[in-house]
């Protein structure tokens, strides 16, 4: 599904990604771990076609990121650090706008359904600017999946969420997985990573330092490997 070969990204004479090779199959749920500044967000941005790689190849379902960018963009649901929401718009208006951009059919129903799913029906007509961090994150999640993407790119999706919202998010990921959706999730929350992911990638200094599968939610294995690789060396 996702094929990355020798991907590098340079910004201001600084190599942020130094040769990433990665292959991800459809339906996998992959957690990307790594220290701050390792290049995790940059990797997701390159995939989301937000920034261009300096060198290397990326193929999504055999499609070229640049040449077939419209088809590729339809596949992705991208949730970065910022919410990508318009402050003075209500959740419904935000979702309608992005739904229309993605050409979602019956967008009004879909938007209302999503707002309900993230538990904000009560605030559906309040402008987003009055919301708390966690509420904004909930709408941001809804925004990212409005067009039922085939691949989710989530950048630290758990930040600011309360317990209830974490459960909602995990359920979203798991139910999308059942539909065959692939997920790449940057996170610092090992517990959630072990909970919902079946593969862990550890990124360090713009390279993939480790790549392994986990089953039976073995949190111990994740933190053990992470500490050995990241904290051990420091």
């Amino acid at each position: 599904m996702i094929e990355i070969k020798k991907l590098t990204k340079q910004a201001d004479n600084k190599l942020i990604l130094r040769g990433v090779d990665l292959s991800i199959k459809q339906g996998e749920t992959v957690a990307i771990l790594g220290p701050n500044g390792a290049g995790k967000s940059t990797l997701l941005k390159v995939l989301a076609t937000l920034i261009k790689p300096t060198s290397g190849h990326v193929k999504i379902n055999g499609l070229n990121l640049k040449k077939d960018h419209i088809k590729v963009k339809k596949l992705f649901g991208y949730l970065p650090h910022s919410s990508l929401l318009y402050d003075h718009y209500t959740p419904l208006e935000n979702l309608l706008f992005f739904g229309e951009l993605y050409g979602v059919k019956d967008v009004e129903n879909r938007a209302r359904q999503l707002v309900k799913e993230v538990g904000l029906s009560f605030f559906i007509n309040e402008p987003v600017k009055n919301f708390s961090r966690g509420m904004i994150q909930r709408i941001a999640i809804a925004r990212a999946i409005i067009h039922e993407p085939k691949i989710m790119l989530l950048d630290e999706p758990h930040t600011g969420l309360d317990q209830g919202a974490i459960t909602i998010l995990n359920n979203v990921v798991l139910s999308m997985k059942e539909k065959g959706c692939t997920t790449l999730m940057v996170t610092h929350d090992f517990k959630q990573a072990a909970e919902i992911c079946d593969r862990i990638i550890i990124v360090k200094n713009g390279k993939i330092a480790d790549d392994f599968s986990i089953n039976n939610k073995s949190l111990g294995l994740v933190s053990e490997k992470y500490e050995a690789l990241v904290e051990g060396v420091l």
Binding site: L50, P80, S82, L85, Y86, F98, L101
Partner: protein, 224 residues
């Protein structure tokens, strides 16, 4: 592509109707310019009629800059521009959408400000209103087409408020020279109409060339 552009333009205009921030500022600004002009030049005096064609374009240029700046800087909050960039459409749709929104806003300002200006100065149009509307349309089109592009260019910089006017004046001066000349002739001296039309043709050609250029190049400007 056109559908996405329309969605973006609709979003911008709708949010403007909601907040009335930018349009309000533009119209207040236009009103102030007109008032100051009426203090400086005695409306009763006949020679002041000569400043009217210029005043029309002063209003459009300066209130236009206010709107142009906001139109792209507003997409930086919460990185909504990234949301547009990862959506399945060409970058030129974003340009087209922003252009349509800015163009409608400047047209609204013109519809409010120009009659106010003419009324306050008791200005009787000795020429053709239709031609005047055509000049306004062609001139605003070029100004906004180039301005939207440059606003996108400047919005990547920290000092976009300063950069935009600096870039805008050299780029749009052919348009502005052409339309002020044409406006002057059309409003005061219809005998020279052929020369006004020549100016207008020149501006229209410039408009088309730059609109197409901006449309094609916007992809490289919007890159993160």
């Amino acid at each position: 592509m056109f559908r996405a552009a329309l969605t973006i333009a609709k979003k911008d205009i709708y949010s403007e109707l909601r907040t009335k921030q930018v349009l309000g500022t533009m119209i207040i600004f236009a009103g102030l310019v007109i008032l100051v002009l009426s203090f400086a030049f005695d409306p009763a005096n006949n020679t002041t009629k000569a400043v009217i064609p210029g005043a029309v374009w002063i209003i459009i240029v300066f209130s236009g800059i206010l709107g142009l700046n906001r139109s792209l800087v507003s997409e930086q909050r919460n990185d909504t521009m990234h949301g547009l960039l990862v959506a399945p459409m060409e970058a030129s749709s974003i340009y087209l959408g922003k252009f349509m929104a800015n163009f409608s806003m400047i047209l609204i300002v013109e519809i409010v400000a120009v009659p106010f200006l003419f009324l306050l100065f008791d200005f009787k149009v000795n020429g053709s209103i239709l031609y005047f509307i055509l000049v306004l349309f062609v001139g605003s089109f070029g100004f906004i087409a180039i301005g939207t592009f440059l606003a996108a260019l400047a919005s990547n910089s920290k000092s976009s408020e300063m950069l935009l006017p600096l870039l805008l004046f050299p780029m749009t001066s052919p348009v502005l020279i052409g339309v002020t000349q044409a406006t002057k002739i059309i409003l005061t001296n219809m005998e020279k109409l052929p020369s006004a039309i020549a100016w207008l043709q020149l501006v229209a050609a410039y408009d088309v060339i730059f609109f197409v250029l901006c449309f094609l190049l916007i992809e490289y400007v919007l890159e993160v």
